[in-house]
Amino acid sequence: MDITAELRKIVGVRLSVSPSELYCYSSDASQVKGTPDYVVRPKSTDEVSRIVKLAYENEIPVTARGAGTGLAGGAVPVRGGIVLDMSGMNRILEIDIDNIQVVVEPGIIQDALNDALIPYGFFFPPNPGSSAMCTIGGMIAYNASGMRCVKYGTTRNYVRDLEVVLADGTVIHTGSKMLKSAAGYDLTQLIIGSEGTLGIVTKAGLKIAPLPKTRKLVIASFENAEIAGQAVVKTFSNGVIPSACEILDRVSLQVLKRYDPKLVLPSEGDVLLFEVDGTENSAREAAEQIIEVCSPLALSIKLAESETEMADIWAARKLVGAAVSRLDPTKTRIYVGEDVGVPIKKIPELLKRAQEISEKFNLPAMKYGHIGDGNLHLVLFIDVLNKDEWDRLNQVADLIHRTAIELGGTVSSEHGIGAARAEYMKAQWGPAFEVMRAIKKALDPKGILNPGKLGL
């Protein structure tokens, strides 16, 4: 069968087989590579269903892709086949304020959704660092979260219903606008985080939240990360739930200051950023409480003075990972071992061991992350023209992953497994991994949906 001709019948000019185009779809922000044979940009559920059916009948791999901002190769077609570029399906279909929900197509950019919700006084809380470019579909596929999940939870907590195209092209809905349901398996939750291996999301019904009246930011510095970790534990045990709780080590601070010299940040130590939100009074009280609790441990502690100061710090923080080249132009950040997570109490230990590993391999590392939920983003940067540095980089990443599992944590907190972390799935899950295999087999017997991912 002439697959190109068949695909063209479905999507017309929104099909490409040009080598340059295929090359552009052969990677994301990770080091995983795999070239597709066809790229299509569907515009409707019907088109997706017809494409998947065609792929099913001809046993061609199908990999869905949003903005390709993933850090684990989830959208990379490692076995070739068809890439479905979903970013053109980017409409907001319904803003239903009475039910505090929205219905969107998967290609919508997270920030674009939030821009549309601001006039209604609502927002979609999960906010990854890539919120300016990542799609909601990608966020669902990888259960993305970000800085505010310490209070608001992850994408998983906001999805009410999904329209999903299954491996044979069948279209199903996994939920409804109901806030709760006791009718059978929760397929919505099964699809979230399944990385396109069980079905292709074509519509999503999402819960939204009212925008807080105000946000305040407490900036504190500590002699070392361990003391910073103690400050976090103390804050939580005093009953304060910040809307974000981030740690930035010294190197991250230098990078941030290089990125934007105007940023008002401490000049020494490891820094914690506590954001609290709510009404003016409740946010102020919470901020004051954090200052009181952390002061005995901190080298310095202050409240951000203006909204602009706060916005600038968050904007820079969101992009800090990629900004390392500004510190040393010969170094490029490589996203490996960048998303481990451990129980909050183990964070100081993880930080210590990460430091030891990076020193052992003589590879500088920058450490920042969502200390409030145990998620550490380790930034490794190398001279990409130096093979020896590549070797050491991969060894460091491997040890970091194994350390996280040893500490009772996870190899990925919010970026996903994809192909980059597939080899650790068995070690992390033990016999539970066989249950995942069984589910995959039941829903995708021919193995056409994003093959080569999740270690399945």
């Binding site: 552009c24 922000a29 390709g68 500004r326």
Partner: protein
Amino acid sequence: MKTMKNKEKREIKRAKELDKSEISEMKGKDQPFELDRRSVYKCVQCGACRSFCPVFNVVGWESANTRGRMLIIKSLLEGRHHSEDVLPSLASCTTCGICAAKCPAGVNPPEVVEAARAQLVKCGITTKVQEKLRASVITSGNSFGEAKDRTHWLSDTERSQLPEKSDYVYFVGCFDSYRYPEFAEKTFKVLQRFGVTLLPDEQCCVSLLLRTGFGEDAEKVMKRNLEQIRKVGAYTIITSCAGCYTTLKNNYPEELHVISLPEFLAEHLDELKLKKLDLTVTYHDPCHLGRHNKIYEAPRKVIQAICTLKEMKNIKENSRCCGGGGGVRIGYPDISLELARNRLEDVPEGVDYIITSCPLCVRNLRDAGGDIEVIDIVELVAMAME
């Protein structure tokens, strides 16, 4: 429904436009593709540029955004065979630079893309449109291939009275010389009182040659301009075209004292004795004046000395491209106009004019067919001097 149909039609048209990037010749086929690798490897493929690239916003394919272009360039450096199939990606960048402004890793994609285009030219991979353009500049000294005198808009008397020596040269540019002589006339009238002269045989500034990869040819033409600048003894070169400005300032081999018309006007506001006009206008930042050279305040100062300024939705560093630069208007006119239409969406309500300070922007924004008249800043100044 009708809008959907129109959208589809436009999509098909754009797809065809990208498809027909006709290859010109393949004489340098076996030449290696070389580039400063570090400038490319700095890109971490995070995709931050993806949400801002105006061409991608219209075209939709990954190859049409900055990250795609960087990937393609990387692949050529790593030995992927270069062929004409890279052209729709690399030739469709307007070099507007919003990606550079947004890139957390500090990559400068317009520079990389221009360097890659130069390599493609070396390897014999160019479009027919590019070749035509090159021939026009080399043979006729302007990008339109016009044969008539560049100063045709001057009267014979004016021409004969041009000072041979002067501290100031008004560099007119191809656009104002041939497409908007009324801008040239008005600019000259404003500048005349400062004793400005013109180059006797001004040549194209070579912006287009440089943006599209013809560096070697560009050097020869630059030389012709430089010789004349030296002969006139000018210290300052004033230009009203954003493309000419950035080229003269940043690409000429000698360091020239170049000043844009809005800067010159802003510096001499007192001497110009402008009257106030009961108008509300908005201002479009040309990419090559704004983002590339950070000239944001001077045009605003001039406008506010005359009338009320109501800003567009995206301004200064965040300003959206009109679609006219980087050889895109000439290579991909439909895509280029779609960009201009998108830019017009940023115009606020209740303005009498859209002001800009680049003739390419004027043309593209006018051709996009909005309801509000687009004029060059010099026209506003001329109105205030009447």
